[in-house]
Symmetry: C4
Subunit: 278 residues, 4 copies
């Protein structure tokens, strides 16, 4: 009876390498195939929402939807079967995403329209993102991420100020304009304040009274100035992050991107070290 | 009769510590409670403005409004009673805010809708903002504030230019478009100019004639360039403020990020001091 | 007969000092009075355009308009009479502005509505702008102006690209959308392209067809990226202009705003020299 | 028979110098004439699209269109005839553009309206752009181009994030709002998401439900923060590109503005060399 587990283990190992690995040719082919199917499934979900599809095309899309869902279900079962510890996989981030990727279609049997939730499958692309030679892009996105992370406190302070301003301006416009101009409640006035401060300006709600227009003008010019703040924060951080490459000897960070020697102590900077590495 | 004042003084002292202080456990609990009640009162004010509330919920919100107002009134009385110099408290910034926090509800007995003014209670949050370990956020907001303060003259020059532009463009559009397109007066045309220059663009007033659209296009492209100016100002200031590390000898702040010696007096700069520390 | 010219010369000299000068108390009082009257006249012009004024107020504003115009006419005559060379004054920039300031009211006798042109009087404020202690603001506006001037070529290149994009996108949308969606001609499509690229987005003209919306989405994302370019240009120039203070010995310009010694040659920098002076 | 080819060669050489060259007076005159005709042809195409032209003017414009097209056709024939290797010219970038410049008018005989494609002629301006003393502008546009090229990866990472956000937000709004508010399909909801994230905000589609407006507010504030990212990227790159002064020994470009020696190899940098010179 030991031969059967050995046989099963070999079967599991081979498929585990294909499904979870990125290093073998078969594993790569599987990854590329998966990325294509995921992108196709998103296109199918988007197209299916079109209201005036001819019945033939709609049936075709539904068939594609179900084929993709069954493929994903099989793949999810295979992952569960071949994972070293199925329970840990099922509760991991990608395990949950893989489950969420197949649920919407089954749910749509009971709740029509639920398949639109299928766009969540897009997260699956992240899993195999790293198989391509995208290293440089990952460095860049890390640079962007680090710049945003470094300015998280400034951004929070800024967002609190914006929220406070939205509440105060919303209440003021509700009092000034009233229901005739569409400012029927403070939440709707706050929605208007967000639409205005961010310079989106739909125009579905707009002040009509002279006093309201005067206040709105002030809010707009303020919003014009406020738009400068996050831009300034992120600009300064990106400029700083772009220069970061720490010296291993003295720890100085503000070297230019192409510097070869530490400008303080002369220690050679390792060119291959990722910027910002400790 | 001296015992009674002594008893009263002890009573006052204990409550003063609780109400005004932030250091004792009781004082902290009071602060946290106050912040929660303030946030609740704002939510109540916002919800109360909804026009289509069921009568039951509206009565519930009005009850909550009155309970909070009575709590705030009691608290205001306690502050007056326990403050060292009640007159100075009553005329201080926070004394006036505390009074303004309870007035709107009483006013709403005579002027329906006045309770919307209650959003002014939000300012009360500032009072207890510092009890949390928010020191780093305060440093950040001070950095932002300093950046804005340092560029106040540039911003004023910029705003004057914008106001002048708004007046001239508003008058020109009033002459070109006239009342048929909604440009019924110069103030309304100026409102349109603000809406356009800030790229909000509601669309409730929009040019209809070829000449008006040509001028509007110019104004938009100008506004596109103008948006760059405050952003540039604030970016430059934030980048500069971020590099600030004061010299302990002479107090100069504008050193480069990698400077080791004060550029004015030669004092070594301590590298470990957090930027912006006094 | 020589006494009369001498008498006239003394009279002219005294009034010339008052009207053209800024150094005597009388001259200063005249300047302050002039600035107030100019600002009043702009307010009058703006208010006069309101369509639903009661006849009484309209008559009052018209009276104010005529009184201000007569005052300006007298002042213009005085300036002509007391100027050293009246012809040169009449053809100077401010001479023409002073004439333009009084013409609209007289024109409104023949062309109703012409008085709206009176906002041109705002330029007169510039004349006496310098009498106040506004030196620091002038330095700031010169810094801003220098930053814009230094980046004039980048801005021109950028504007040419925007204009080319507007023409191409306008023609494409005209072909794709056609008259049903409001894209009735290429100029109107170009107007739409400007409204969209600058993120103003009135919504009076908007694409309706799937192809048009797809192209519009591309244009918007492009415009989103394009908005970064002028901001980047101006940011970089303001950051640079803020640091400019040339060394008199070696000519290096990129000193920090508070540097006291040239960082290249050690020459003391004159703190009082306006930044950017040769 | 050898005399005839020699004669033809001389004729071809002379015309080749005029048509393709920029150095002789005749060649320059040809270039200037060509640029004027190209600009005229664009104006004609734009004007022709106006729907309410009097028949006389429309006929005039059509005549101008045909005259210009025949001129361009003759010029295209001359270029083919005088080019050293006609096949290589015909398949070169400018050869194809020259052909595309004449096709729309001929196509309009069969497909009315096709002449609007004639705006593609604008690309022809690029050909003779360099004949003017525009060297400095070309340097500036190269600086801008280099700044954009250097940040291409950051921009791509950013664009991918925006596209992912647009898909997710579009699907969510489609589920929340539904067809009553105009969110009739996911593609239309994605179009709305682009219009909102880029702060264009037409208002032709806008959320009506409280949940939809809450999500929209979040998206707007997010978009407000997101607008900071490309601006920060381009600002940092332009600031860096502006400092570029290449070392003549090793070619390194990213020196600080006040560096005197190359930071990589120690070669003195020539201070007088224009930035960006090879």
């Amino acid at each position: 009876m030991t031969a059967v587990p050995a046989h099963r283990a070999a079967w599991r190992d081979r498929w585990q390498t294909i499904i979870f690995g990125h290093d073998t040719p078969a594993g790569r082919r599987f990854d590329v195939l998966l990325i294509i199917v995921v992108l196709c499934s998103i296109v199918v979900v988007v197209l299916e929402s079109l209201p005036d599809l001819p019945p033939g095309q709609r049936r075709g899309l539904m068939a594609a939807e179900w084929i993709i869902t069954i493929l994903f279900t099989v793949e999810y079962g295979m992952r569960l079967a071949t994972a070293r510890t199925p329970a840990r996989y099922a509760t991991s981030f990608f395990g949950i995403v893989d489950l969420l990727a197949i649920l919407p279609t089954y749910l749509s049997l009971f709740f029509p329209g639920a398949q639109a939730l299928g766009v969540v499958r897009g997260i699956r692309v992240l899993r195999v993102f790293r198989i391509f030679k995208l290293g440089e892009y990952i460095v860049e996105s890390e640079t962007l991420g680090r710049a945003l992370y470094a300015s998280r406190r400034k951004i929070l302070v800024f967002l609190s100020a914006v929220v406070a301003l939205v509440v105060v301006v919303g209440a003021a416009m509700y009092l000034i304009e009233g229901a005739e101009s569409g400012f029927t409640s403070i939440p709707i006035s706050m929605y208007w304040a967000v639409v205005t401060l961010t310079t989106v300006g739909y125009g579905d709600i707009a002040p009509q009274t002279p006093a309201g227009r005067m206040l709105a003008s002030l809010v707009m010019i303020l919003g014009y100035g406020i738009i400068a703040v996050p831009t300034g924060i992120v600009s300064a951080e990106i400029a700083r992050a772009g220069r970061a490459a720490a010296c291993r000897n003295c720890g100085v960070q503000q070297h230019d991107a192409d510097a070869r020697y530490c400008k303080r102590c002369g220690e050679p900077l390792s060119a291959s070290a990722p910027p910002g590495s400790p």
